[in-house]
Symmetry: C2
Subunit: 461 residues, 2 copies
Amino acid sequence: MTQVTEQSPATRFAESARAGDGVRTDTAAFDAWLADCRDRFRNTVELRPLDALRDWSVDPHTGDVGHSSGRFFTVRGLDVRLPGAAVDHWRQPIISQPETGILGILVKEFDGVLHCLMQAKTEPGNVNGVQLSPTVQATRSNYSGVHRGKAVPYLDHFRDTARHRVLADVLQSEQGAWFHRKRNRNLIVEATGPVEVLDGFCWLTLGQIHRLLHEDDLVNMDTRTVLSCFPAAVPATRSAESGPSYGELLRWITEERARRERHVREIPLNSATGWQLRDGRVTHRDGLFFDVVGVSVEAAGREVGHWDQPLLAPHGTGLVGLLVREIDGVPHALLHARVEVGNLDVLELAPTVQCTPQTYPHLPPGARPRFLDTVLDAPRERVLFDAVHSEEGGRFLHARTRYVILEADAGLSLADCPDYRWTALHDTAALLRHSHYLNIQARSILACLHGLPGREGREKS
Amino acid sequence: MTQVTEQSPATRFAESARAGDGVRTDTAAFDAWLADCRDRFRNTVELRPLDALRDWSVDPHTGDVGHSSGRFFTVRGLDVRLPGAAVDHWRQPIISQPETGILGILVKEFDGVLHCLMQAKTEPGNVNGVQLSPTVQATRSNYSGVHRGKAVPYLDHFRDTARHRVLADVLQSEQGAWFHRKRNRNLIVEATGPVEVLDGFCWLTLGQIHRLLHEDDLVNMDTRTVLSCFPAAVPATRSAESGPSYGELLRWITEERARRERHVREIPLNSATGWQLRDGRVTHRDGLFFDVVGVSVEAAGREVGHWDQPLLAPHGTGLVGLLVREIDGVPHALLHARVEVGNLDVLELAPTVQCTPQTYPHLPPGARPRFLDTVLDAPRERVLFDAVHSEEGGRFLHARTRYVILEADAGLSLADCPDYRWTALHDTAALLRHSHYLNIQARSILACLHGLPGREGREKS
C-alpha cells in the first residue's frame, strides 16, 4: 500500500544521497574544480564609509541607507515591543527587503542518479571568497535588470516553471533578527533537456553535498535552505500530514502564536535609540549585536565587476544547537517556538538554541537561552554534528554560525517550557512545504541533520 | 485501508450534518427559543460623533481614533502601493487590531450525534439584533478584563485547551480590506463533562445550522468561519495532503505570491488623502467605499450594559460568488489568488468574485472584477445557493454580503487568468488547517457550500 514507487522524487533523492561519489564529478575532480575557482574568482572587498558609497546614500532626514534606484534593500530602524519578554522594548537597525528573490537548484539525472548543479560563488561578505551556492541565487532587482549586470545564468529554468518539472517551490523567511519580512523562493527544478555546464558550475550528488556540509564555510546559507526543502523520503504509510502528531503540532503552533504578543513598526534609522552613525558605520552604543558598514567590491566571475553596498556585520560567532532523540523509534528534534522581530508571522519554529553567546553577559539573566548550557557543556560522545557555516555573504559581513547537533539526554526535562516541543522529523518535512513555519536557522541545521549517515539521517535522506 | 473509522471526527461531523433535526433542540423549539431571545436581547444603537464617544478619542496630532486603554482596536490610516494593479496607489482608513481573539464552538455528543452550543448574540452593527454566534466570541481585551464586563461564559473550555479535546485550532484572517493584520483563533472543542446550558445558548446539530445558512442575516460571520474549519469527511484514501493536486496548489500559491508586489504602511489617519473627518464621521470625498462612524450602545443580554465605539459602515451590499464544478468526479471551486491590503501575507485565496458591485462605475474599467458578470447574469437553474449574510457586527455597521454559489458553465475559459484556479474541495480542507491561505469570504462561502445537500455538500459534510 506504500505510495512510494521507484520513480518518486523522495526515492530518487534518497538514492542521490547515498551516492557519495558523483557520476559527473568525482571527489578528486571536485577538489580540483573548487581550488581552480577559488584561484580565479576573487573579490576585493574594502570597507568604505556608509555616507561615501557609490549609488547608495544616507537620507538626510531619516538616516535610512538606501540605493539610488529605490530597489535592492534599505537599512531602516525598527521599534519592537514584546510584552512579557525579558527585554520587552528596543529599537534597532533592520534590513528592509520586501522583494522576493529566487534560490534555485537545478537537478538532472545522470546514469540513474540525480545530481545538483552547484555554483562556486563569491560574495563580498564571505570570510573565504568562494562558497558553494545554488544554481541560481538572485534578487528581483538582480534579474529585472536594475543591477545593469550580465544576465543570471540558468534563470529561465526557474522563472518559467510551467515548462519544467518543479520538485519544490516555497517561500521561506530569512534571519528574523536582521531582515524585516524578507522571503526568498526556494526552488528545486528538474531539467528536462540537456544542460550546458558553464564556467564556475558543477554537478554534485546529494551525498557529495552532505559530506561537504562537514567542512566549515563551504556550503552557503542559500544552498542549505534549499537542501532542507528537498522532498523527504518518508514512506507514505507514515505520511505526516494524515498522522495525529502533525495535527497536534499545528495546534501547538497556533496556541503559541495566540499567546505571544509582538508589536513592530519601521521607524527612521536615526530614531533607533542607542544606535548611531559614526565614522561611516552604524553601531550600538555598547558595541553589541552588530554594525552596519559599507563596502566597496571589485569582483571577478560575478554578474557585475564593481559595486558598493552596505553589509550587516554581526559581533561574535552565532550558535545554533539542535537536540535530537528517538521517541518510539521515530527521530525527533527539539524545536523552539521563537518570536523574532522581522518574520511576517509572530513566530516560526527555531532550533533548540539560537543565539550569539557573547551577547548574554550584557543582557538581563532572564534573556539567557534555555538549553544554551546543555549545548555548550555536551560531552563529546553526544555530538553528532559540529561545523561552522557562513550566513548569506551578500548581506552579512563575516557572519558565521556554529551548528551543533546533539543526542539528547533521556532525562532532559521540558517542564515549564511550553514554547519547546519534540517534533517528529517527518512532521518537519510536512511543515517545509509551507511558508511561515521553520526559520532559516532551523532549515540550515535540518539540512545538516538530513545529511548525517546515522539514524536521523536515514529517516530523511 | 481507509483510516476513517466510526470514531473519527470527520465521520462524527458527517453524521451531525445529516441530522436535520436536533436531539436536544428540535426545530420548533429552536424557533421559539430564537423568537424569545430576539424579544429579550435588544440593543439600542444610536449614532454619535466619533469625537464625542465615551472612552474613545480622536488623537489631535494623528487623527487616529483609539480607546483610552490603548486596547481593543484603533482606526488608523494605511498607505497602499500595488505596482501593476489597475489602481496602484491609495490611502484609506483601516482598523488596526493586532490582538488575537477567540471564536470557539463547544461541541458535545447527545444520543450519538454531535451538537454545537450556539449563542443568540446581539451586536451593535447587526441589522436585526440577534444572530447565531459561536459559543465564545471574545477579543483578548474582552477576556482579559479591559472591558470591565461580566466574565465570558464557557471561555475556560477554550483557554485551557490541554484539559479538553480540541478538534480544530487555527488562526485565520478577517476582512483584508478593512482590518490591518487581524486574526482570530478558530477553535472547536469537545466537552468531556456535563455542560450547563445558560440563558441565550442552545445545542444544534450541524444539519440544523446548515439549514439555517439559507436564511438571511442569521448565522453570523464568526460562526461561518469556525464552521469552515470543521474537520472534513474526506476519506483517507483521497487524503489531500499526500495527493499530487495539493502540491500543485501550493506551488501555484507560491508562484502568485512571488510575482505580486504589495507595499503597505500605517500612516496617521489624517494623512489618508481623500478622506476626512466631518460631522463626526470619517468619509471618502466621493462618498465611496465606507464611512467610519461612532455609535452609542445600550444592551441587554450581553457582557456589559452600555458602551460607545466606532464602527466601519460600508456603502452598498457586498457580493461573494463561487463557481463550482466537478472535474473527473471531484468537486472543485474556482478560487482567486487575491492581494488584499490588510492580510499578513501578500495574498490569500478568495472566492471567484468578491466585491461591492456599486463601487465599480467610479473606478477604472480594469478594476472591474473578472467573472462579476458571470455571477450577476447566471441563469437561475445554475444557482445552488443564494443568501445574504452579515459581516461581524462588533466592528461593522450593517455590513451585508450576498453569497452566491453557481454551477459553472463547462465552457468557462480561464485563459489569461493565472490568478484563478480550479481547486479540489478536499484540498481546500487541507489548506484550512493552516493560517494565511483562505480569506474570510472564501471560508464563509465554503461553510455555505459544505451545507448543501448536493454533490458538493456530500463531499465535505
